[in-house]
Amino acid sequence: MASIIDIKDECALHVRDFEFTYKGAAAPSLKKVSMPIAKHSVTALIGPSGCGKTTLLRSFNRMHDLYPGNTYNGEIEFEGRNILNPKEDLIHLRTKIGMIFQKPTAFPMSIFDNVAYGMRLQGIKNKSELEGRVEKALQDAALWKEVKDRLKHDANGLSGGQQQRLCIARAIAVEPEVLLFDEPTSALDPISTQGIEKLVIELKERVSIIIVTHNMQQAARVSDYTGFMYLGELIELGHTEELFVTPKEKLTQEYITGKFG
């Protein structure tokens, strides 16, 4: 039923027959989802609220494990292994698959320490190395110019858009392979949103990106591949251009032309 594109290029992640059930729920929230995630490209997940797009996203770094009782089934392949394996080293996995959240999550520490945090967790203590990588990460997040004179200031003094870019800098500082974005601009004004979108497009040169968004136009603007989800199923995955001009599934068509409801 679903129409899933076959990705010829190398894949960053490969989801196969993936099912996810929340603690105590009778039915799985994700039903037999199979999808490839292309390397060095942006894959957007769209769909009405409750369709499971965020649930899927949070499975990629096993975020659900923070709340016990949820069950995974199927396979998510990453670097040749199934990350759903209970023995998977989650600390390692999460340094390889970073995440950006709906709201900016600047830690209550200085700007510098925020960006350095992930590296320090990995045991990097050398000051000059830290400084170099913090600067690079901030530059990559298009934030360096704005904060270079106040690295020691509290990160909460930054604006929402700046904080979100700080979170991106923090995430890329540990050089992950994949970045997960969970509606990263839903708390931001249009101008900051534009900044983040620009950044997402630039970042795909180095990381593979999966972005969940409730804003269809955003998916259209930034992504190379778009997946449309509905009631826990992946209905369609295709090149963004094709999906928005000629969706293969009727449901997709109805969703993107606003005929739902």
């Binding site: 600390i91 390692h92 967790l121 990995q122 045991g123």
Partner: protein, 280 residues
């Protein structure tokens, strides 16, 4: 050992310590609770509700005087304290808002909330008991009310502020006058919260002993005269507990148990009301 392994070990140690401290704390607390229940239930019998206090050694001694006295004192305090607390809280939330006066009142009342209750007792002794010349239920109730007002004021203020500003604006936008907005919308919206505040306020003063020691004082006999010294569970409990008589100590534990159940009941009720309010 890599940095990550080190972190994992430190993590385990830290979590073990906090679990251990939780166990220690709870062990002590359950010990106390256990003692209270064992002793209390053991001492509990019908006589307690039927008989007044009597000298040690008498079989027909009970707590009727203290139970009724406690209810009268707390009831009277509630009667005085609740309306004043709610009205004052209303002023802070709806009129004073962020004015200097409102902030001063808030700060002072917060400090009052944690002020030593025995000092309040001393104060009421000076301004009520001394002029009257003798201890009285009024004095006790006033002392309790003074303790209660800041509690209710603060919760009322907080709960009213939780009512979204847009809800008020929406009522104004329909052409409602301010007092109507407050009574129809704000009070209604904060109903559960205010009620909880009142219950917690009552629970708070229900357990107070110190301010009653020299205001309502104590009496071993049943009375309903508000101008006389009035017995209360807390003071009775205190007196019985420090007495050397075994049967009085027994009665003391019974009183402690009854009072604790009463206060726990109020607390649980308050919690349930808030929960139900939230669930809606």
């Amino acid at each position: 050992m890599t940095a990550v392994q080190k972190r994992i070990i430190i993590n385990k140690l830290a979590l073990a310590f906090s679990t251990l401290s939780a166990i220690i704390a709870l062990a002590f607390l359950f010990w106390i609770l256990g003692v209270l229940v064992m002793k209390g239930v053991h001492a509990l019998n019908w006589n307690i509700f039927i008989y007044e206090g009597s000298p040690p050694g008498y079989a027909e001694s009970g707590l009727k005087h203290a139970l009724v006295g406690q209810l009268i004192l707390v009831g009277l305090a509630t009667f005085i304290g609740v309306p004043l607390g709610i009205l004052a809280g209303t002023y802070l939330s709806e009129y004073g808002k962020n004015s200097k006066l409102a902030h001063t009142i808030r700060d002072i009342s917060d400090i009052m909330m944690s002020a030593p209750s025995i000092v309040i007792g001393a104060f009421v002794y000076a301004v009520v008991v001394m002029p009257m010349g003798h201890f009285s239920a009024w004095a006790g109730a006033i002392a309790l009310a003074i303790i209660m007002i800041p509690v209710i004021l603060r919760t009322t203020d907080d709960m009213l502020q939780l009512v979204p500003g847009t809800l008020r604006e929406a009522a104004f936008a329909l052409g409602a006058p301010k007092y109507k907005v407050i009574i129809d919308i704000v009070y209604r919206g904060a109903k559960a919260g205010i009620l909880t505040g009142v219950l917690l306020g009552i629970a708070r003063v229900g357990g107070e002993t110190a301010p009653l020691l020299f205001t309502s004082f104590n009496d071993n006999f049943f009375t309903t005269d508000l101008n006389e010294a009035m017995p209360s569970l807390t003071v009775t409990m205190f007196n019985y507990a420090i007495s050397p008589y075994d049967d009085w100590q027994q009665l003391g534990w019974a009183a402690a148990f009854i009072l604790s159940m009463f206060i726990l009941g109020l607390n649980i009720m308050g919690r349930l009301i808030l929960l139900m309010g939230k669930r809606k």
